[in-house]
Symmetry: D2
Subunit: 432 residues, 4 copies
Amino acid sequence: MAQGLKVAVIGGGSSYTPEIVEGFINRYDKLPIRELWLVDIEAGRHKLEIVGALAKRMVEKSGLPISVHLTLNRREAIDGADFVSTQMRVGLLEARKWDEHIPNLHGVIGQETTGPGGMMKALRTIPALLDICRDIEELAPNAWLLNFTNPAGMVTEAIRRYSKVRSIGLCNAPIGLAKWLSAKYDTTPSHIYTEFVGLNHLHWVTRIEVEGVDRLPELLDKRAEYSGKNVPASEWDPDFLRSLGGFPSYYLKYFYMTDVMLEEQLESLKGGGTRAEIVKKVEDELFELYKDPELQEKPKQLEKRGGAYYSEAAVNLMESLYGDKRDIQTLNVPNGNTLDFLPPDACIEVNCVVTGQGPLALPVTRVPEQAKGLIHAVKTYERLTIRAAVEGDRDVALQAMAAHPLVPSVRVAKRLLDEMLEKNRPYLPAFF
Amino acid sequence: MAQGLKVAVIGGGSSYTPEIVEGFINRYDKLPIRELWLVDIEAGRHKLEIVGALAKRMVEKSGLPISVHLTLNRREAIDGADFVSTQMRVGLLEARKWDEHIPNLHGVIGQETTGPGGMMKALRTIPALLDICRDIEELAPNAWLLNFTNPAGMVTEAIRRYSKVRSIGLCNAPIGLAKWLSAKYDTTPSHIYTEFVGLNHLHWVTRIEVEGVDRLPELLDKRAEYSGKNVPASEWDPDFLRSLGGFPSYYLKYFYMTDVMLEEQLESLKGGGTRAEIVKKVEDELFELYKDPELQEKPKQLEKRGGAYYSEAAVNLMESLYGDKRDIQTLNVPNGNTLDFLPPDACIEVNCVVTGQGPLALPVTRVPEQAKGLIHAVKTYERLTIRAAVEGDRDVALQAMAAHPLVPSVRVAKRLLDEMLEKNRPYLPAFF
Amino acid sequence: MAQGLKVAVIGGGSSYTPEIVEGFINRYDKLPIRELWLVDIEAGRHKLEIVGALAKRMVEKSGLPISVHLTLNRREAIDGADFVSTQMRVGLLEARKWDEHIPNLHGVIGQETTGPGGMMKALRTIPALLDICRDIEELAPNAWLLNFTNPAGMVTEAIRRYSKVRSIGLCNAPIGLAKWLSAKYDTTPSHIYTEFVGLNHLHWVTRIEVEGVDRLPELLDKRAEYSGKNVPASEWDPDFLRSLGGFPSYYLKYFYMTDVMLEEQLESLKGGGTRAEIVKKVEDELFELYKDPELQEKPKQLEKRGGAYYSEAAVNLMESLYGDKRDIQTLNVPNGNTLDFLPPDACIEVNCVVTGQGPLALPVTRVPEQAKGLIHAVKTYERLTIRAAVEGDRDVALQAMAAHPLVPSVRVAKRLLDEMLEKNRPYLPAFF
Amino acid sequence: MAQGLKVAVIGGGSSYTPEIVEGFINRYDKLPIRELWLVDIEAGRHKLEIVGALAKRMVEKSGLPISVHLTLNRREAIDGADFVSTQMRVGLLEARKWDEHIPNLHGVIGQETTGPGGMMKALRTIPALLDICRDIEELAPNAWLLNFTNPAGMVTEAIRRYSKVRSIGLCNAPIGLAKWLSAKYDTTPSHIYTEFVGLNHLHWVTRIEVEGVDRLPELLDKRAEYSGKNVPASEWDPDFLRSLGGFPSYYLKYFYMTDVMLEEQLESLKGGGTRAEIVKKVEDELFELYKDPELQEKPKQLEKRGGAYYSEAAVNLMESLYGDKRDIQTLNVPNGNTLDFLPPDACIEVNCVVTGQGPLALPVTRVPEQAKGLIHAVKTYERLTIRAAVEGDRDVALQAMAAHPLVPSVRVAKRLLDEMLEKNRPYLPAFF
């Protein structure tokens, strides 16, 4: 690594790319990138060209010796890379639309990272990523694969179990919480200690200490103040929240307030359509902006997109891996002995110390009793989904669908599965 | 025990009593009962007198030296007992009616052993049984407490964790399956081997061998043939069943066919009322029969009542404990290391070898992946319910209610909890 | 199995064979053997002929339709067998002599089932048995392999981990204890309950109930009364024994009374030589008896040989497997979750229920704290030895030797290893 | 803590005190000590006055606003303390002399932190420290107790299990290794990553990375270069070391080279006496130096004493706890789920991230198979010793002594126990 690092971004034509480029520029002193490869598939060529050109202008303005490469040749991008990052979307936003829409038609939450929608996204994505992993095993066996692709927990677990690639799953929620807390309490993130327990998009924050003071009880009384961009704000029941034992991920609303959330989704359908359709519009606008040859920096509007801090999360992780920094980050990694009710190879979202040899999961000081059943129920769905994705087995997929807490019965599970598999047929050759 | 055994039956005025009396008479050579104490509360005095008189007539006819005692003095009955058995119902069938009815009014399954109804029954029953255990600890510390009182899994776990009484939970489902299999395959139960995994009323039978031949695949193809008395028959989806990995408890229909089962409950409400109301009628008829001074045996009509084989299960267990028989029975006992995802003190329903010192849980050869999440979700509800019952804590009760897979949201959980606690106020002093 | 069972005895020329033949004859009604194949290697041809002729005379006298076959063709014997039993000795008693003698020369206990001697026996035996297992996998994949070959714990673990053969390890110690207890307390074994914890030749009996009465405390006060044939009697320290928490295997004397046992071994060397040499004489005498064409039964003198009850243990196990008897036997099987400090695939000696599908290990009610370290220390040596045997790795063998509690230092370990490997060179091709 | 910290040093009259005072002075900016209380018992009054006067001169020279207090009133010192540190020696060096001498007389290793000597030290120390903990629970419930008192592993485990005090055990070995490595490879400790597995004075270093390069294989080839001050240098067998799977603690020589180490001890006895007697002379010389009213700093000669880096270890730990520094330190803490073969409350020596709420044990990436048995054997001795110390139970003490791998037989164990308990009678009231 003496002469700097090589980074490959799979799905480089994504609208998020300017963010990560900005991150690399700002952190160059700690993380000396020599080559940045943006790679995409033929269908994404146009977007890759637009965003790639912007990336080049950004680097040029910075004056740093980073070379930016655009390519449709994945193997060339991966060859010898130190880091590979993925931000791909198999089936594009069109597929996401159906992930959200079809469940709604059956009175079920439509969400791209959990439930029937998350399952379809996993079935599309896992084989594609395992295919990429075959290349990494061959061409960059020591690379770290940073996976942002949702459903990040399932995808990371699949990679860990079915390839030899060293992979870590990442989410922007932990860093988002730290930002929010540091603003609220007017302090720096380094004076905040939070402990996460659970899975990706299914976590409880069981410790929140700000400058050494336990702020969890106070925050459980004011939960409504905080809400994520991707999730409509809804009121938590105050009695429920107070006794929940941890500050909930905003995705937990789908499980605890299913009725309210479903109503909102159905309402939203009547208006702007699914979340996918709203995002599509934002993206189109972004790409219009990106085309401007005068633009040399990340446009403000990108923040509306929903993935705030993704870039910061990625750059933080790379820096700690590269520099053996040994700081604490919340990541998606294999469970090991952390949660004694899950198998060692199950991916969980947990605090880790990031060393030069990878993250080491910290023990959790407490797991709320009330969280265990839900964690295990969703993990069961995840493991069955991963198996279905790898084996292309429709029976296992049915078990996975029926096992998800948001799916009300086997009858509904079967209907959803049949319809959604059919709709995703082009991306699921193993099932047909 | 040289001069024969003393048995105390708590809730001795139950309509089931003639069954257990018949069992004691038939098995006298292996299980020499000297004294049988039927004990009930003041409110049950009338029934106790009726059923007690029948019991005495039955024993008299048998010519065996068993003395039958009727009493309202629980301590006298327990004092020095070798076995205590419970078949009580705090709040009587009236309370059961509301356990079933109120959830239905909110579009939720109403069932006396799981969900909101099971929770209320547990909240009523656990403190009452722990009170009985205080007496057993003092007056019969070496007695075995055989618990038939539903929800048997939660009640047994509560006794094990909050008293020193040696308790075992019993259900008639395992023996019922063995009877059904031996009829179907024209063989004796001793030539059948079944392996149970899960909780009380939430089990999967993962091995079924008849005369050494694996019959599980065949049975998973013909599941509809078999249904329990207490549970309306409904069709399982054949694809789902085939890949489920185990023959399901009929109570699993509440979880997998929630929609169908709820429709049937609502339909049934319009007709004969809740299951509680139907049972009430059967019971009234039974007591009319019991009054007949010519009746000297268990009437045939008792079989309609739904608790077939309870007596056989009880007598089998007592005989094996008394005689150190070391046969295999399916019982509700602490998990130990059996299921590696549940704590050691969680009660599970599992095959045991019954020795003179008590049951030893056998290891399970396989746990279907798809069962794990549901087992853990329900166990979470159970543990929170037990804690709520012991501590009288409404917050914990809310967490328990919200954690149950059949409760669709926190909002509904809270409404159910408020209404049902209010309706059960007389039996739940700790909550008010 | 309709027409009776086929049994293959590997090492059929052993002096023990008349015992097992007697067992088959006596138990014919429960265990209908149709074909008994005694198989040996060329070097054992002469003994095989002698003992085989006796076996045939014994069967003839019984009038039972068992056909006895003698062969040097192992594959013929194994083909289609229901049970395969092993009682082989790679290197014959000559090798055992050095297993016992060389350690003594270095001031270390010489014993054929543990320590340096047990290690050498394992290194010789494991590859030979795995070779046999290749044949069983191919020719009798459903056979049960009953392994009596010492060191039975290591050999059975090696077979379980490195082959697909269904294997169970057997020892005569548990049945010997039951016989001794039933004589002492004048009762039948079925009225005795004993619970074993530990490894083969390294167990503690933590429960001894005779007709329901706990006899453990009393027995720990009179330990000296009981001693095994294979192990010289020595006095246990009464204070130590009382607080040991379990009735010790007589092999535990090697660990707890190392000094006394070593003195006796060295003394014995001066007299009749090693145990191997004494056994050799007994065997020679036995074969002289066996040659007598008038002899039609097991001669009394065989009991001096040391393996009392081996036959009974084997026949009991076969009967329970064949008849799905579900009785409790103490066997060497994989740990599973039984001992929480050992890996699931480690073989332990533990009570099992023997079903038609194999043994299910019963949970242990208690593990004395003081036993844990020693169990784990010896298991460490066992696992390293197994690895060394399979991989032929001298470094791992050195770690194994040094890890054994009876080996006082690495320096001694290395000397022992070098000398003993050299002496065993003909039987250890993988190491040279 | 706004106005600075209060620290109480139990055993403040120790010759080590100038080191820790130096540490506080040097680290004042990060660890603002306001009050330093040196407390000792009446028998140590003279030493306390000498070393206390030196401490005051050192602080005075520094010009820092730290007030130094000398007292024989322990409760006054503990009251409101933020940190309590212990460096006491019950029975003084005289007791240590017998810890080392008596085992030697029986041909057994004499060592003050393991084996019979370590056991006696534990029996003397644990009750005394638990007594101190009663004061801390009452007067400084939020204090951290930093325990340097050997045997640090057992003492820390006893405190954790039998008090509510937040205690951490510390050893200078890990920091000593880091210093040695950084000198050898000419880098800073922050560029070195080492992973420790095992117990206090019984660890294996299974990862050693220097500037990202794995140096373990190389170091296992050159082990002899490194040796601790407290342990005579002896040659490791190169074949053994290469396959050991981790860089061994120098205390492991007592287990792996018992013969050589014992010879050296016996030889040393003939010369300067036991290690205790040598240390006594060094100490006497140190106190002569300390008396010099001109001396205002830690004298160089202290380094000969053997406890190098103790002060640095202590100050590092306090700083990280106080400042929520979240760096990695190797500490003695409860096992939790770290080593799956030990109970959660067993103390182990392991890498931890030190947060403001205490240390979080990092998972270990690998445990060499060959280490497991020895770790568990010594932990068994430790747990039995702790129980004996707390209960004053001679039977349990005998089991502990016999369980230690360096004690060759129960006969020797009993003799050692009897003699050593008698010699320690004044310090072991519970046993007499």
